[in-house]
C-alpha cells in the first residue's frame, strides 16, 4: 500500500481487509531494528521505560544490600564488621543510590512507560531524547558503584555538605564521583520531564480534554514541572563544587576565606532536595489514585480536588527547603516562615488522603495485592507525615537534628509514601509488562512481611533518636543503652530482605510461568487496559477517541477511532492543549544509534571533568559531531515524507478544520 493512498481521505467504514492491511504495516513501521544495534537504538517508550524501571530496581537491590551491611554493623555496640571509612562510603552510596538512582528514575520510568498509553498515543513526543536520558542515567549510576567497588566511593553523605566535600577535606576523587553522578542523573531527569510534559500537552488522544486526564498522568506532569525548576539547583551546585575542587580551576564559590559561602551549598542542595521528596511522592500518589479507583470499582471521589492538591503540594514544596537547615544561623523571621510553610503542606496532603478514603468508603473492594499495598501505604505514610509536622517545629528540630528520629521520619515518608505504592503499582501493571500475572499469595506475603519488617526497622529509630543516637556513627558504646533497639532494627532489616526476596522470586517466576493475563484483568478504567497484554510495539491499532474521564469504562461499542494517519511512517495525532481537538499529524523519528553515541560522549566529558577542565571544550566539539549525526540521520533516513515546500499549504491555524462530530 502506498503512502499516498493512505493519506487520502478514507471512507469512514473500517473493513476487515483494510484493518488487516493497516495492522501489518503498523507492525513493521513501529518495530525496532534487529540485533544489538537495534537493542541499543530503540525509541519505543515501553522498552525504554521498562529498562529504566528494571535498572532502578537493580540499584534498589544494591542500595538495599548496603543498608543490610549497615544494619549488620550497628546490630551490636562496639562492632567492628565495618571500619569508619567504609561505613562512610556505604551510607553515602546508600542514600545517593536510593534518591538519585532508584526513587526518581523508577517514578520517571513508570511515567515513560504508562503516560503515552494512558493518554492514548503511541509514543513520547521526543523518542530519541528519551533513550538518551536512559543512557545518561545508567552511566551516572555505574560511575557511583565503580567508585564504591574500588574503595574510593564518596563519603561525605548524600547531601555532600561543604567544607567536608570541598577541596580542603574531601580527599581524592571521591566526591567528584558523586557530583558527576548527580549531574548525569539530573540531565536524565530533565530530559524525561520535558518529554513527558510536551507529550501530555500535545499528544493526548482526541477527546481527552484536561479534565479527563488520568490522575497518574497528572501526577507525572506535575512532577515533571517540579523537576524542571528544582533539578537545575543541584546541577549547578554539583558543577560549582567540582569547579571548586578541580586543582587547576579552583573557584571559590564555597570558600569563605575568598568571599564564598558554605551555607550557599546547603541552600542550593535543599532547594532541589526538598522538592525532590515530592518529585518522588507525587507520582506515587498518582499510583495510589489509579489503584484505589480500580480496586474500589467506582469513579474517583474528588478528581478535581486530587489534581489541585497535587499542584498545591508542588507549589508549597518549593517553599520549605530551609527546614533542613534549622541549625544554621538563619534570621528568626525566616525560621518562622519556613516552620509555617512546612506545616502548611499537610493541608493538601490531608485533603488527598480523605479523597482516597472516601473513594474506598463508597466502593466495592476487590482486595488484591495492589490494594493491600495501598492500605500499607496509609498506615506508614500517615505516621511519617505526622513526624514531619513535629520536625517542622523549630525547637523540636533543633533537638532532633541529625539523630535517628530524622532517619525514621524520612524512611516512613519515602518508603511509606513511595515504595509501598510502587510495589502496588508493579503488581497492578505487571500484566502489561509481560502478559502474565504476579502470584497473589506471594504478593500478600510480600506485603505483610515488608510491612512488619519495616515497622521493626524504623519504629525503634524514633526512640533511638529521642534518646540521643546521632546519625552516621559507625558504632556506639554498650553504655549508651542503644544496643537492644538497634538489634531489633537489624532483625527487622532481615525480615525486609526476606520480603523483597519473595518479590524477586515471584517476579522472575511469574515473568516466565505466571498465569496468562487478559487485556484488562482488574477491570480498570484507563486506556492501557484496552490494549492486549503484553502491549504490541505500535500500542494502539487505532488511536481511540476518548468519551469520558474513565476512558475504558465509558467506551461504547460505537466509540469512534482515529484513522487517516500514515501507517508506513511513525505518525500519531497531535491535539490542542485544552480540549484535545486534533490539530496536526505528528511524525516522530525512528530508532537511531546516535543517542547512545551522544550519551557516551556526555559520560566521557563528565568523567573527564573530574581530572581536567579541558574535557569541557573537547567534549563539546565531540558533541557537535554527535548531534550533527543525530540531526542528519533523523532527517535523511527516517523522516516522514513531508510534502515539498511548494505543495504544502501554509496552515497555521486549525480554526478552519472541523473535527468529525464524534470527537466533540
Amino acid at each position: 500500500m502506498k503512502d499516498a493512498d493512505l493519506s487520502k481521505k478514507q471512507s469512514s467504514s473500517l473493513t476487515e481487509a483494510r484493518i488487516n492491511d493497516e495492522l501489518r504495516a503498523l507492525e513493521s513501521t513501529w518495530s525496532d531494528k534487529p540485533g544489538i544495534i537495534g537493542w541499543l537504538s530503540t525509541t519505543d517508550h515501553k522498552r525504554v521505560g521498562f529498562r529504566m524501571v528494571f535498572t532502578a530496581f537493580c540499584f534498589f537491590t544494591f542500595g538495599g544490600i548496603l543498608a543490610g551491611l549497615m544494619r549488620l554493623q550497628l546490630s551490636l555496640p562496639g562492632n567492628n564488621f565495618l571500619g569508619p571509612d567504609m561505613y562512610n562510603q556505604i551510607f553515602t552510596t546508600h542514600g545517593s543510590t536510593m534518591m538519585f538512582l532508584f526513587a526518581v528514575p523508577v517514578m520517571e520510568g513508570m511515567g515513560i512507560y504508562f503516560v503515552p498509553l494512558m493518554i492514548g498515543t503511541r509514543t513520547l513526543a521526543f523518542p530519541r531524547l528519551n533513550i538518551l536520558g536512559y543512557y545518561t542515567y545508567l552511566f551516572g549510576g555505574l560511575l557511583l558503584f565503580f567508585g564504591l567497588l574500588l574503595n574510593i566511593g564518596p563519603d561525605a553523605g548524600w547531601f555532600a555538605y561543604v567544607p567536608l566535600s570541598g577541596p580542603e577535606y574531601g580527599i581524592g576523587k571521591r566526591v567528584d564521583l558523586w557530583s558527576q553522578m548527580v549531574s548525569l542523573t539530573e540531565i536524565s531527569a530533565l530530559i524525561a520531564s520535558t518529554n513527558i510534559i510536551v507529550t501530555v500537552m500535545k499528544l493526548r488522544a482526541p477527546g481527552m480534554s484536561l479534565n479527563r486526564i488520568p490522575l497518574f498522568v497528572w501526577s507525572e506532569v506535575i512532577t515533571a514541572v517540579m523537576v524542571i525548576f528544582a533539578m537545575p539547583a543541584v546541577m549547578i551546585g554539583s558543577s560549582l563544587l567540582s569547579m571548586d575542587r578541580l586543582t587547576n580551576v579552583s573557584t571559590h564559590f564555597f570558600n569563605q576565606a575568598e568571599g564564598g559561602d558554605p551555607i550557599m551549598w546547603q541552600h542550593l542542595f535543599w532547594f532541589f532536595g526538598h522538592p525532590e521528596v515530592y518529585i518522588i511522592f507525587i507520582p506515587a500518589t498518582g499510583m495510589v489514585s489509579m489503584i484505589i479507583t480500580t480496586f474500589s470499582r467506582r469513579k474517583t471521589f474528588g478528581y478535581t480536588a486530587l489534581v489541585l492538591t497535587m499542584v498545591a503540594t508542588a507549589f508549597i514544596g518549593f517553599g520549605v527547603w530551609v527546614h533542613h537547615m534549622f541549625v544554621t544561623p538563619l534570621p528568626q523571621l525566616g525560621q518562622s516562615i519556613f516552620t509555617a510553610s512546612s506545616m502548611l503542606i499537610v493541608v493538601p496532603n490531608g485533603v488527598q488522603i480523605f479523597c482516597w478514603l472516601a473513594t474506598l468508603w463508597l466502593g466495592r473492594w476487590n482486595l488484591k495485592t495492589p490494594l493491600v499495598f495501598i492500605l500499607g501505604f496509609f498506615g506508614v505514610f500517615v505516621m511519617g507525615g505526622l513526624t514531619g509536622v513535629m520536625l517542622a517545629s523549630l525547637p523540636l528540630d533543633t533537638q532532633l537534628h541529625d539523630t535517628y528520629f530524622v532517619v525514621a521520619h524520612f524512611h516512613y515518608v519515602l518508603i511509606g509514601g513511595a515504595v509501598f505504592p510502587l510495589f502496588g503499582a508493579v503488581y497492578y501493571w505487571f500484566p502489561k509488562f509481560c502478559g502474565r500475572m504476579l502470584n497473589e499469595a506471594a504478593g500478600i506475603a510480600h506485603c505483610i512481611l515488608f510491612f512488619v519488617g519495616f515497622e521493626l526497622v524504623f519504629f525503634p529509630m524514633h526512640i533511638l533518636g529521642l534518646i540521643g543516637m546521632p546519625r552516621r556513627v559507625y558504632t556506639y558504646l554498650p553504655e549508651t543503652g542503644w544496643g537492644d533497639l538497634n538489634m531489633l532494627a537489624s532483625i527487622g532489616a532481615a525480615v525486609m530482605v526476606i520480603a523483597t526476596l519473595i518479590f524477586f522470586i515471584n517476579a522472575i517466576y511469574s515473568w516466565f510461568w505466571g498465569r496468562v493475563a487478559a487485556a484488562d484483568p482488574w477491570g480498570a478504567d484507563t486506556l492501557e487496559w484496552s490494549l492486549p497484554s503484553p502491549i504490541p510495539q505500535y500500542a494502539f491499532q487505532y488511536q481511540p477517541v476518548v468519551q469520558g474521564r474513565h476512558a475504558v469504562w465509558e467506551q461504547t461499542a460505537d466509540s469512534p477511532v482515529v484513522t487517516g494517519l500514515h501507517i508506513n511512517n511513525r505518525e500519531v495525532v497531535a491535539t490542542s492543549i485544552h480540549d484535545a481537538v486534533p490539530d496536526h499529524r505528528y511524525g516522530v523519528q525512528g530508532p537511531s544509534i546516535m543517542p547512545f553515541v551522544v550519551s557516551v560522549i556526555t559520560g566521557a566529558m563528565f568523567v573527564g571533568f573530574m581530572f581536567t577542565p579541558w574535557s569541557l571544550p573537547l567534549g563539546m566539539i565531540a558533541l557537535f559531531f554527535g548531534f550533527l549525526g543525530w540531526f542528519w540521520s533523523n532527517s535523511v533516513e527516517h523522516r516522514p515524507p513531508y510534502a515539498p515546500l511548494e505543495d504544502n499549504p501554509v496552515y497555521d491555524d486549525p480554526a478552519d478544520y472541523k473535527p468529525a462530530e464524534a470527537a466533540v
Partner: protein, 215 residues
C-alpha cells in the same frame, strides 16, 4: 480490542490535517520552551549566587591583589566595551526576526540570508565574549566575585556555542537539501532560542556590569 471490534466503527479521519504546525501548536516549540525554562532557572540561580557573594563580601568590590598584577583598590568592570557588545546583541535580533518571518512566509532566499546573518552575528558575539572576560579585571580563581562573574559569562557563552551549532546544522541542511516543512519549524524555534539568548543577556549585562556600581 481485537480486529473484529474495529469493523464498521465510526472513524475520526485526520488525513487532511497538516503535518507541521508553528508556535504553541508545535511539539518542538514547547520542547524548546521547556528547555529554556530549565536554562532560565539556571541563570536565576546564578543571579541569586551573585547576590549571595555580594552579601558575604564586606568590602564591595573586593580589591584586586592578584600576585603579578597591579593592585586595584576599586576594580570596577569596564563599561564601554560590554555596552557596545550589548548593542550588537540587540541589533542581532533583526536578522533573527527576519529569519523567523521568512520561514513562516516560505521565503527560501530570506531563510538563507537570515541564516547566514544570524550565524555571522553569533560568531562576532562569540569573539566579543572572549574579550569581555578581560573587562572584569579578575580571574575566576581570584575570589568568589571572580568565580561567579566568570561563571555567568561562561554559561551564557555556552549558549552562544550551542546556538552557533544549531544554526550551522540547519544551514547545512538548507543549503544541501533545501527547505521543507519540518525544517521551517526548526528555523522558527531557533529564532526563539536567539530571542531568549539576547533577553537573558540584557539582564545579565545589567547585573555583571552595573551591579558592582549600584549594589
Amino acid at each position: 480490542m481485537t480486529n473484529e471490534d474495529f469493523i464498521g466503527r465510526k472513524t475520526l479521519d485526520v488525513s487532511e490535517l497538516p503535518s507541521t504546525m508553528f508556535d504553541d501548536k508545535a511539539n518542538l516549540w514547547w520542547g524548546n520552551n521547556w528547555g529554556l525554562a530549565i536554562e532560565t532557572t539556571v541563570f536565576g540561580i546564578l543571579i541569586a549566587l551573585y547576590f549571595s557573594v555580594r552579601m558575604s563580601i564586606s568590602q564591595w568590590l573586593p580589591p584586586r591583589t592578584t600576585p603579578g598584577l597591579p593592585v586595584l583598590q576599586n576594580p570596577l568592570p569596564d563599561l564601554t566595551f560590554p555596552t557596545v557588545v550589548l548593542i550588537i546583541f540587540l541589533i542581532s535580533l533583526a536578522p533573527a526576526i527576519y529569519l523567523d518571518l521568512s520561514a513562516r512566509r516560505k521565503d527560501i532566499f530570506g531563510i538563507k540570508v537570515g541564516l547566514v546573518l544570524t550565524l555571522a552575528f553569533n560568531i562576532v558575539l562569540l569573539v566579543c565574549r572572549y574579550y569581555e572576560f578581560d573587562t572584569l579585571h579578575f580571574k575566576w580563581n581570584d575570589n568568589a566575585y571572580g568565580s561567579v562573574t566568570w561563571t555567568i559569562l561562561g554559561m551564557h557563552m555556552i549558549h552562544l556555542f550551542v546556538m552557533a551549532a544549531e544554526d550551522l546544522y540547519v544551514m547545512l541542511w538548507t543549503f544541501i537539501k533545501g527547505v521543507d516543512d519540518k525544517h521551517r519549524l526548526d528555523l522558527t524555534v531557533a529564532a526563539v532560542y536567539w530571542y531568549w539568548i539576547v533577553a537573558t543577556w540584557v539582564l545579565l549585562y545589567l547585573l555583571v556590569f552595573w551591579g558592582p556600581r549600584i549594589l
